[in-house]
Amino acid sequence: MTTTYDAYSAGATDDGTAEGKVFNLAGSDWDEVVAGAKDAADDERLVVNMGPQHPSTHGVLRLILTLDGESVDEVRVGIGYLHTGIEKNMEYRTWTQGTTFCTRMDYLAPIFNETAYCLAVEKLLGVTDKIPERANVIRVMMMELNRISSHLVAIATFGLELGATTVMLNGFVEREYTLDLFEEITGLRMNMAYIRPGGVAQDIGPAAIAKLRAYLERMPERFGQLRKLLDANPVYLARTKDVAYLDLTGCMALGVTGPVLRSAGLPWDLRKTQPYCGYETYDFEVHTQDTCDVYGRYLVRMAEMEESLKIVEQCVERLTKGSAKDGPVMIEDKKIGWPAQLAIGTDGMGNSPAHIGHIMGESMEALIHHFKLVTEGFRVPAGQAYAAVESPRGELAAHVVSDGGTRPHRAHFRDPSFVNLQATAAMCEGSYVADVIAAVASLDPVMGGVDR
């Protein structure tokens, strides 16, 4: 449908009409645009509003492209379509309930959101050193599994956006195996609220360890297959090599971190440079590329998944044989630590019968304590803390402010998707339209994290 009225730029001129012709498309009607563009000789530039509902914009991302034929003159990024006010909501819940909210921000990396938040809360409480070793090992293992599942989605959706369904199916199958592990360990595939201030929600059972072992055996071969599909695939190379160039200077100026930064040659990985949760005790490498392009970012992600597998293997060793073989998974301090032994009852998962028996049958004090901890929550000394973790997309950090109460005064998340998306224009302007898709996909933005 061709009109002169543009609902998106209403107000651009006084009478509410756009400067040129407006095409409203719903798909499969590009002929109209082609025909319309042909007879508009004086109006060569085409402004295309891509998204927020578009299959290749990774959710509700809106790109406003100014095109000169096939090449992109200008890119503007519109976000905010998935803003849910999670940060504001967290100010009205207890510190522990906060995990349930922040886990939903970057929905492909829930464990990282929870960990960043919990590390910040623990820093405020001053209990960072008192987190049990077993809880830390479980945290690291969950984060690395999550990194694998997130990178798998990044690579799979990237394949889909370039039209390679095989890559998509292969990636999602493997991700599903990873999510099965999450389900076994936490009870949920996504948004687990598993990492809690003081430790983790519950211990890992023998069934999960067996599943982890099977997973560790399966994955190296599957990564090999994925590499066979893509590493030297001429079509894939043509779409990714020397595309969406962003060098180290650009990364620094735009605050870009994560695989994009490492594809520019800087081995900056918070797990190595500013370790947390005991990462300094694990044996793994930080992979870099110096191509600064989409292909380099793919290679970095692939190598990171293989490294993550190594870390998971070391975690399983520690959880079964090593120093973290047994022991609590929640801080000993009863004023902070929630009961971390859960069990399946007739009405779903809840506190273990032993804990219920203790508070209901044995100790009135324990009942009062449990009730106060759950309804009121614990108080956190006033102050502010900043804790950063290396999420699959870069530096994910929580800036948490307490006024001394049982709720956060402010919880702000520095989400890497939000920051990295700013690089879209630097990567795309001057390139072809088709490369915009590749550029955005190589940033791997998750709109839940961008908009929060």
Partner: protein
């Protein structure tokens, strides 16, 4: 801190509408005094502070707080851009990455209700510092640091959107998360969360911002 007199909290259990049966009703917890931390700060903090002073930033810093292994420099708002530029360019400081800018609203802090918080990261020296600017609600202007750190662009837009802090010199300070025609700045403490009561097993649960608060 006028009528509250620096009091952070009275009583113990958040119950203000009923009679005091707990005996804790008279409890008064005072707010922390805004004071500078004494030297030495410890770790690399002294080194950073020395180099900042040597670069002529001594008078730009109102106070310095070291807390929980983090250092915060409270910067005079008119100097924030100079401070950012020196922090980035001085090879001894070299904070080449701005992790983010965000706001915090302290409604009881008279004359400094709104804070803009900057987290700087030096990859060269592997250090982090925090810069903070406190500004009055009545005059919420801060110079933009986009010309120093281009990454601040969206962060400052977000802080404007959520807190109403105006970053002077920003290339296009528009709303980023909320719709363009939105009224108000949602992350401020005087902006209600909203919500409706929910019925659960016969009882009515009020919306979150009307539930009992203990702080």
């Amino acid at each position: 801190m006028s009528e509250t007199g620096g009091v952070a909290r009275r009583g113990m259990f958040g119950a203000g509408s009923t009679g005091d049966t707990s005996g804790y009703g008279g409890l008064v917890v005072r707010r922390q005094v805004a004071a500078s931390s004494p030297r030495p700060y410890g770790g690399y903090f002294d080194d950073v502070a020395d180099h900042m002073e040597r670069s002529g930033l001594g008078d730009a810093i109102e106070r310095t707080v070291v807390d929980r292994d983090e250092i915060t420099f409270f910067v005079k708002r008119e100097r924030i851009r100079d401070v950012a530029a020196v922090m980035r360019d001085n090879p001894e400081l070299r904070f080449e990455l701005l992790s983010g800018v965000s706001g915090v609203h302290y409604p009881l802090e008279e004359g400094g209700e709104l804070h803009a918080v900057y987290h700087l990261l030096s990859m060269t020296h592997n250090r982090r510092v925090r810069l903070e600017v406190a500004i009055p609600d009545a005059d919420p202007h801060v110079p933009s640091v986009v010309s120093v750190y281009p990454t601040a662009d969206w962060h400052e837009r977000e802080t404007w959107d959520f807190f109403g802090i105006i970053f002077d010199g920003h290339p296009a300070l528009t709303r980023i998360e909320m719709p363009d025609d939105w009224v108000g700045h949602p992350q401020r403490k005087d902006y209600p969360l909203g919500g409706i009561p929910v019925e659960y097993r016969g009882a009515e649960v009020p919306p979150p911002d009307e539930r009992r608060s203990y702080s």
